[in-house]
Each structure stands twice: as C-alpha cells, then as structure tokens.
Symmetry: C2
Subunit: 235 residues, 2 copies
DNA sequence: AAGTGGTCTAGACCACCCC
DNA sequence: GGGTGGTCTAGACCACTTC
C-alpha cells in the first residue's frame, strides 16, 4: 500500500474536524504519531507538513505541532487598526515592540521608499499576536525627515493614530503587494518558525494628504492565520 | 557540519541569480544534484522544497524542477481580462477549456452563491498559461437562471465580455478572498502539481448592475507565479 | 526501457525548549 | 536532563513521463 501519506492525513484531518483536538492544542509528538501509524518519522512529518500547507495545523520550532484556529479576515485596504480589527472578530490582540532604531536605509527599503541613496530611516519592528499566538511580524520604515522626534513617542500603540495626532498626517493613498514566499531568518526567529517556512508577505507603501510618500510596511503573516478579504465597495 | 541544507540552498540560489540556469530551464535531476553535493536525496529535496517555498523554482510532477520566471502582477479588483493583463506585462497568455457542465451546486458553491438548495449551476473549468507554463486553474460557477443558453457560446474567450455582449451584464461590485492553502486533487492534477502542494486560492463573487449575485470564481495559482498588487487609487 | 520525482524504511545525531 | 522537532544517512520500490 503506497498511499500511507494520504491515509494518515485523512485520519488526522478527521480527528481535528471531529473535535478530538481543539484549537491551539498540541498534537502528540512526531515519534508518538509515527508509532501510532506504524510508519517512519519522515513520512509522518510529510503528512503533518501537508496539513500545515492546508492551514489546518501549524508548528512552533522545536515545540511541536498545534491545531490552527480559524483564519483572521484582513483587509489591507481598510485603515482599521490591528487591535480594532481583531476585536471586531471576537479575538484578542496584543502587540510587542521588538526593536526601534534609526539607521541608513537598506537597498531594498530605499527602492520601495524611492530614496536617493544613503538616507536614514526610522525602523520599527513589532510582533503581533491573536489569542496569545504570535502570528504577525511587522516592520515599518519611516522617512526620517517627515517624523522628527519620533523615537520619543510610545510606539506600542497604533502608528496610524500617532501619525495623525503628533504629525497631522493621514494616509489618503496606499498600494501594496501580497506575496507567498519563505520567511527570512529574522522573521522566522521572531515568529517561532523553522527557517525557510512558508509565510505570506505584504509590502505596503503609504502616502499622506499632500501626496508625499511617508513610510512603508513589511508584514509577514503565518500563512494559516490569515485570509485577505477585500470588497470593492468598501473604500 | 549540520548546515548542509542552508549551504546547498545558498549555492543553488547563487547559481540561479548568476544566470547559470535561465527561466523555465530544468535543473539537473535530484539524484544528480545529491551526488554533486554529496548528500542524500532526502536532504537535497528539502533544499529544493525550500527554494520552491521562496518562489525561486517550481516543479512539475515527475518531470523535474525548473527555474521560476518573474511573478505576474495581478490586481483582482481590476476587471481587466487575463489575456490583456498578461500582454501588458510583455508576457504571452493562453487559455484552455477543460470542462463545462450544468449540474447541482455542491454545498460549498451553494453557500458562496447564497443558493437555497439543490439549485443547478453552470460550471466552467479552464486552465491558463503564461509563456507556455500552466500557472492558473479557474473554475467559474454561474447561476443558471441568469444565463440561459450559455453552453452554446464560445467559452474559451473572456467571460466578462460574454456577460456583457450576450446578456447585458457587467460587474459593478465584487468581493474576494485570498487564501494560501494546499491544492485539492483535481487542481493539483490540472496544474501538474503533486497533491497537497502549496497554491494561492482566490475566491471571488461578482454582482451585476442590478445588485444581483451573478457568479463566483475559484482561482488556484501556482504560488511562485503571481503576486497580488493593489493600489487604493485604481478603482 | 530508461529516467524522473514520489513515497517509504530504519535508523542516527544535533539544537533547542521546558522542567 | 529528558523530550521535542530539525537535520542527516543509505538505501529501496513505485507511478509516471519521455523516448
């Protein structure tokens, strides 16, 4: 019988659907499962990776495999704050600031921000959780000249409202890209992923009411945690 | 040395970036590469899968591994025809009709189309290629009552223009979801993927000028072939 | 018929997490 | 220090594509 993989996936899937495991619950270890199914760890792992690809389960590096909660619905066009959006879906959000620095723009960032060369930017890295599960790594790069004294403010809150209250800016135009790709090293580490695991990358650029390019944002989502939902009426 | 994986990925990556392999060119076989790098096929395959996840290479089931061309930029909000969009990016598009039938809506489809129960739909499956590479499987489900005599028309062309010319409908409102997930069996087969490989699923629903729900569309993209690009000004 | 990737076996050590 | 997943070895047969 050369369809073990399929069978194993099917059985675990049924068990999850049937409620044997609940959201965010840990599955038995790979070794345990491979004994249960009388197969090797490699094949069992392939089965788990298959379910991970579907978005049914996820892993935390060296901690184990867990059942995925329902996907968050996310509209990158709406300027809603992360915390509000999550609350509207009856989930609980939290944010942790990882790092803030002012530095020279890397070539990637310079290109996105249309900077000439060797200009400095503010770089803010934050980690966001839904129901105590880390699902999103965000990096904001702000053009320094537009945000004097930025580092003195509380950056654990919404950047959108900070822009408005302290600088009088609001975003009137933005564009963004959604790209399925692999997690770069620093992202993988922050999200507790194995290096090179699949993530959903969203790259966006914001312009203020004067048409000035203000900042860009790189979002890296755990791919099972989110779905993009856009309605052509809602903007 | 326990970082072979990384090393192998790094080397192949450089070779691709350096132009040793060109777009859509086949890499040497897994066996050949594993000998070259003096490792097992399993590890070598893991390295290739890593590059696949990044979107640098792709595979065709049992045919081999190939270098990915640049991603197509795709805006699901714009009503542009597939062929026009591809042409605008200096690429070549083609479409093949796989199957057309009229049948009872499955429960999934009935839900999306807000059908009561046991209503019939027209189901059209098509396969789309860019530069002779199959990258997209599309399934359209149309509400039968709105499209009398549909099956008599040429369905290899754009559905949007068919709606307009033969039925006087145009889409004034739509919404869609973007979901990273695994390819269902029939999609995997059509796209030449191994079952359960990663794809990007886009699920959209269209309403006509009278506010009536007309049809829905399920798109399944090879994930390395596309990036979603949306501009808040462009609609 | 030969070659490809897909699946599979039966082990092993390593890096890191948690207790 | 015991348990977890991550990486790794050295093979094998199978299903399918290509010639």
């Amino acid at each position: 019988m050369r369809t073990q993989l399929r069978t194993i996936k099917g059985i675990i899937k049924e068990q999850i659907a049937g409620g044997l495991y609940t959201c965010q619950q840990k599955l038995p270890s790979e070794r345990e499962l491979s004994e249960l199914f009388q197969t090797t760890r490699i094949i069992l792992k392939d089965a788990l990776i298959g379910l991970e690809t579907e978005g049914l389960i996820y892993r935390e590096e060296r901690r184990g495999w867990f059942v995925s909660p329902p996907r968050l619905k996310y509209n990158p066009l709406s300027r809603s704050h992360f915390h509000r959006m999550v609350a509207e879906q009856q989930r609980q959000a939290s944010t942790r600031v990882l790092d803030i620095k002012t530095e020279l723009a890397s070539s990637d960032v310079a290109k996105v921000l249309e900077l000439k060369s060797l200009q400095s930017i503010h770089r803010i890295q934050r980690l966001r959780s839904v129901d105590n599960r880390v699902v999103l790594f965000v990096e904001n790069c702000l053009i320094t000249t537009l945000f004097p004294g930025l580092l003195q403010h509380d950056l654990s809150q919404s950047l959108t409202s900070l822009y408005k209250e302290h600088y009088g800016y609001h975003t009137v135009h933005s564009h963004f890209d959604v790209i399925p790709t692999a997690a770069p090293e620093h992202v993988a580490k922050a999200l507790n992923l194995a290096e090179g695991q699949q993530i959903l990358k969203i790259c966006r650029v914001n312009y203020n009411q004067n048409g000035l390019l203000m900042d860009c944002e790189f979002e890296y989502w755990r791919p099972d945690a989110v779905m993009i939902r856009i309605d052509s009426n809602e903007h």
